[in-house]
């Protein structure tokens, strides 16, 4: 970029390029976006890897996430401290995993984590109910919600433990026609 001020060293950029699906231009743009969220917090100079985190409340104001019913979950999933605060590493990680080039397997893993609200490594009925209520803005009656959740578990649960393990989830999602086209964020 034309900036006189260097944001990243050459090595950092190389490293980020190897660790994400982004080009160096995109990495710099992501940094700009990240900095935009909290200009007073995030320095322009990232060459010495400052340990700075932007809180979730700021992250979810991004237009890419603003309308997403699962925005809090997404941010929490990718935040290293699990509180929703994102360092730049987490931030770039998030958009790398959600970008178009990232493979189905990776997306499946993160989708599972996102939908696993209580982080017990299973998508259980409560997770499903939460998902459903977020998706429909709570416009379904409780009976309908229970029915849908039961049906979903019945469909996808392979080992019969009444909750979806990662294997169940993977099996189900691998056949979904819309998953890849829908589960991505363009930045």
């Amino acid at each position: 970029m034309g900036n006189k001020q260097t944001t990243f060293t050459e090595e950092q950029l190389e490293a980020y390029q190897d660790c994400t699906f982004f080009t160096r231009k995109e990495i710099l743009r992501l940094h700009a976006r990240y900095r935009e969220l909290a200009p007073h917090l995030v320095p322009l100079d990232y060459t010495n890897n400052p340990d700075i985190k932007v809180p979730m409340t700021l992250i979810i104001t991004m237009p890419e996430l603003k309308e997403n019913p699962f925005r809090e979950r997404i941010v929490e999933t990718f935040s290293e401290d699990r509180q929703g605060n994102l360092s730049f590493n987490d931030f770039i990680d998030m958009f790398s995993a959600l970008c178009e080039a990232s493979p189905r397997e990776l997306k499946t893993i993160y989708a599972f984590k996102i939908y696993d609200f209580n982080r017990d490594n299973f998508i259980c009925k409560e997770d499903l109910e939460k998902t459903l209520n977020k998706l429909t803005k709570g416009e379904l009656t409780p009976e309908e919600v229970t029915l849908v959740c039961d049906k979903a578990i019945e469909e996808a649960d392979l080992d019969g433990d009444n909750k979806l393990s990662f294997a169940d989830f993977e099996n189900m999602i691998s056949k979904a026609p819309d998953f890849l086209s829908n589960f991505h964020i363009r930045i």
Binding site: A15, V148, A152, E155, A156, L158
Partner: protein
């Protein structure tokens, strides 16, 4: 977070594990080697130690030196024995050499041993990895253990740190191989790092480690320590691996864009490419400018291009390239369409598994993460809610049963009506085309505008009226919306196709008529020239007649049927465009304005009520695009400029429709995803491509080209150009090869082979399908079993139940009687278990287990007192009392 933990630990374990293992592997084999050397050689320790360090650099060189001498080993030894009597120094040297040779042999042995060792190491490593995956705690333990091991090794073996460095130099082949593998692994890790679900921090750390490792040991492997060479090698491996890590995934077109732009881009691409050769070289030789229409003689149409064999210094062969482009377009399009279809088929079950995961898919994949607009988000929420409600209703309806006869009748009725519509529209077009041919023979001045453009008008009108009509009729059928949509699309497709083909057949009549006129004209002009020559020679009394000079504009012209066909297609496209634009302006924009402004002074709510706003008809528009493409495919050969025209049309209509959608349409009530039936549309496109290929190829192969216009004028058939090129421009042997290749004797077996290959592949794919089904069944069984075990109840599998009921003993058991008192059962159970034991002494344990497993099963009809039913007299199990029989399983082993 178990998943997280396992993955994390796995990831942590791996690199450390590999690095460590590498060190350890080297150390171990080193030790082994050192010990072996010591034992074998029995040379003084200090000497050995001395040499061990400086031997390494020398060794390589010496090995090289000794290698060529290997064959002369014996001679050398003889010499050595002679020399032994000489100076001590020389003896010393010889000994040294001997040792070297020995060590070489050792190395050969060690090579194998080392490999085995490395394998072992790997296994160890794998075990370690597995262990690591189990959990962080174990990883820590494992690493601790590893450290201990390491320490132990270090303390037990006197390996100095200086040796460690020299190690790199003096590694055995096995070690090198192992190291290479490690390096490869590291490289792979670097390449796939971005696919790992790890935290960025860890990724960065690992990347650094891996890179350092690779950098360090790439050099150590003795294949050029220069960084440049390393970089080159990495690059090469990237290229060779095919799955590169630097550039490709990030720089290719994103998948979603491919998907979303599919319908458009396909159309677009062809458009641009068709423009290729002919239009870029407007080598105009004839001045065909004439008042009735400049366009008719412009580069837009076939007639513009002439039949000069080569053009310019580069000898550009226009006729040949015209033909090859025309045919190449079809080949390329076919390839692209089929490839896209194949890719779509690979990606996710296309409709195959539909219905299996309705609810879960809706739950997990219905939200589009790209949505960033509040209004769109609201729409999406609403549509998701409705789709859930629909699914619920569907689910409930599945159990219901209704009057199937009425429905059948209605469906048949609807289909009859639609067939009538299709037939009617076909006839109408045929009629109109015929009439237009009559009109064409009349004086153009006396015709009205409508009469001139009747065909296009009627076709567009039919395209406008019929689809809504079909939709209305389809209401009768009451299909599920998704199925209804497919029917609707299929019908519209049939309509368009029927119309297009009627149009084509009518056009062929016209072409034949034109060919006849052309023949007449040709004869007439030939006769005229003959007359002219005769007159000239008789008048001037000379035989060398100067050629007739005629202004090209005055020359007699044939009808040039190719241009006529091209013009028809251009007219069709233009009128289609006009109709599209007008429909949008009136149907969408006008309607939106009326609804919006009349709503202030109307007695009911127009926006929510009857007229409301128009919906954007995705499927109809996509079909329109497909047909447009079909027409382009058909027409491009006769009107190369059509392609450019179409590009313009598509561009304008895209922006126009985009505006219309944003401004005056409301989203479809049922959100219809084009991506779901992607292959459906691609299939339609393929069909259209094939159907538009037919007439073009037919004309190329059978109809004689016009005599006086176009690149093929003067030839019998268009493809003669190819023959001409082969005979004239290519070397002779190519011609012979070509004649052999086109020999039917060769083509027939080739076709046969292809058919057989298709048959074989088809069989194989069927086999795979079967295997898939079997696996699915197995999975389901396993699932049922799991559930069964969990509930500890009866088998839920209906088949198993039925089979159990069919067991021989069971059928003899009378149904359980209700009036039995409950305590009887208890007694019976107790008595039975005691009785079973002695009877089944051989397999006692097993059987008992089974029995005890089966005992709580409520379905088994065991609730009888022992004496309630005596065994039938003919039964084999005489000595056994009744209750044993009830088990069904206890009986067989005893007999």
């Amino acid at each position: 977070m178990e998943v997280d933990a396992t993955l994390d630990s796995g990831s942590e374990g791996k690199p450390y594990g590999t690095i460590f293992c590498l060190y350890e592997a080297r150390r171990r084999s080193k030790n082994r080697r050192a010990k072996a050397q010591r034992k074998k050689k029995q040379v003084s320790d200090d000497e050995d130690d001395e040499e061990d360090e400086d031997e390494a650099p020398r060794k390589r060189g010496r090995r090289k030196r000794t290698k060529p001498q290997d064959s002369d080993q014996d001679d050398e030894e003889d010499k050595r024995s002679v020399r032994q009597k000489g100076a001590k120094a020389s003896r010393r040297k010889a000994a040294n050499e001997e040792r070297d040779e020995e060590s070489e042999e050792d190395q050969g042995k060690r090579k194998k041993g080392g490999r085995a060792a490395s394998k072992q190491e790997k296994e160890d490593q794998n075990k370690e990895k597995k262990g690591n995956v189990k959990g962080k705690d174990e990883t820590n333990k494992g690493s601790e253990k590893d450290k201990k091991k390491k320490n132990g090794k270090q303390s037990s073996s006197p390996v100095s740190s200086s040796e460690d460095e020299s190690d790199e130099e003096s590694m055995s082949e096995g070690e090198i191989a192992a190291l290479k593998e490690q390096v490869e692994e590291k490289k792979k890790l670097i390449a796939t790092l971005r696919n790992k679900p790890w935290r960025m921090k860890r990724r960065l750390v690992l990347l650094k480690e891996a890179q350092e490792f690779v950098e360090k040991f790439e050099g150590a492997l003795g294949k050029g320590r220069g960084k440049k060479l390393y970089a080159f090698k990495v690059m090469m491996t990237k290229v060779l691996m095919g799955l590169p890590y630097g550039s490709i995934p990030r720089k290719t077109v994103p998948r979603s864009e491919q998907d979303t732009a599919m319908d458009f881009s396909v159309l677009f691409d062809f458009g641009v490419r068709i423009l290729g050769v002919p239009c870029l070289l407007p080598y105009g030789s004839w001045d065909r400018l004439q008042p009735p229409g400049y366009c008719k003689y412009s580069i837009l149409f076939y007639g513009y291009y002439n039949n000069e064999r080569t053009i310019g210094v580069l000898k550009f062969r226009l006729p040949l390239s015209y033909l090859l482009t025309g045919v190449g377009i079809f080949g390329y399009s076919l390839m692209v369409v089929i490839r896209t279809m194949a890719r779509n088929a690979n990606e996710g079950g296309d409709g195959g598994d539909e219905g299996e995961f309705t609810f879960s898919w809706k739950m997990f994949t219905s939200w589009d993460y790209l949505i960033g607009n509040p209004e769109t988000a609201d729409n999406k929420y609403a549509s998701i809610t409705t789709s859930f409600k629909e699914s619920i209703v569907d689910e409930k309806e599945n159990q219901k049963n209704e009057n199937i006869h009425l429905r059948r009748f209605l469906r048949i009725l609807a289909n009859i009506m639609i067939l009538c519509c299709l037939g009617g529209s076909g006839y109408l077009i045929y009629f109109v085309v015929k009439r237009s041919q009559d009109f064409a023979k009349m004086d153009p001045a006396s015709l009205t505008w409508f009469q001139k453009n009747e065909v296009e008008f009627v076709m567009s009108l039919l395209g406008l009226v019929c689809p809504p009509l079909f939709e209305t009729i389809a209401e009768l059928e009451d299909y599920h919306p998704r199925i209804a949509l497919k029917w609707q699309l299929g019908r519209i497709f049939a309509l368009f196709l029927g119309n297009l083909y009627t149009f084509l057949f009518a056009l062929f009549d016209e072409v034949n008529a034109k060919l006849e006129t052309e023949q007449e004209l040709k004869n007439a002009t030939e006769w005229a020239i003959h007359e002219y020559n005769a007159n000239y020679s008789s008048y001037y009394n000379t035989t060398d007649v100067p050629p007739l000079v005629v202004n090209p504009a005055d020359a007699v012209r044939g009808p040039c049927w190719e241009t006529a066909v091209g013009i028809e297609f251009v007219k069709l496209i233009v009128s289609d465009m006009q109709v599209t634009f007008l429909t949008i302006l009136i149907g969408d924009f006008g309607r939106a304005i009326t609804v919006r402004f009349l709503n202030y002074c109307w007695c009911w709510d127009l926006e929510a009520g009857i007229p409301s706003y128009a919906e954007f008809d995705i499927s109809g528009n996509v079909l329109g695009l497909i047909f447009n493409q079909g027409m382009i495919w058909m027409g491009a050969f006769y009107a190369p400029g059509l392609v450019g025209l179409n590009v313009l049309r598509l561009l304008t209509s895209m922006y126009f429709q985009c505006w219309a959608v944003m401004a005056c349409n409301v989203p479809h009530e049922r959100v219809f995803k084009a991506s779901r039936s992607n292959n459906f549309y691609m299939g339609l496109l393929l069909l259209v491509l094939f159907l538009s290929l037919l007439p073009v190829v037919y004309t190329i192969m059978t109809l004689p080209p016009s005599f006086d216009c176009g690149p093929f004028s003067g030839q019998d058939r268009m493809y003669d150009v190819v023959m001409e090129t082969i005979t004239q421009d290519l070397p002779a042997f190519m011609g012979t090869i070509f004649t052999y290749a086109t020999n039917p004797g060769l083509i027939m077996p080739a076709v046969l082979l292809m058919v057989l290959a298709i048959y074989y592949l088809n069989t194989v794919s069927k086999g795979y399908q079967q295997a898939n089904l079997d696996l699915k069944k197995k999975m389901k069984m396993a699932r049922d079993e799991e559930k069964n075990r969990r509930n500890n109840k009866d088998s839920t599998n209906q088949v198993m139940k039925d089979l159990e009921d069919l067991l021989p003993n069971k059928s003899l058991i009378p149904p359980p009687t209700e009036e039995e008192p409950p305590h009887d059962i208890v007694i019976e159970k107790g008595s039975k278990s005691t009785k079973m034991k002695p009877g089944s002494a051989g397999k006692g344990v097993n059987l008992q287990k089974e029995v005890s497993l089966a005992a709580p099963n409520p379905r088994r009809p065991v609730a009888h007192p022992p004496r309630a039913r005596g065994g039938p007299p003919g039964h084999l199990r005489g000595p056994l009392p009744g209750p044993g029989r009830g088990r069904g399983r206890g009986a067989p082993p005893r007999t």
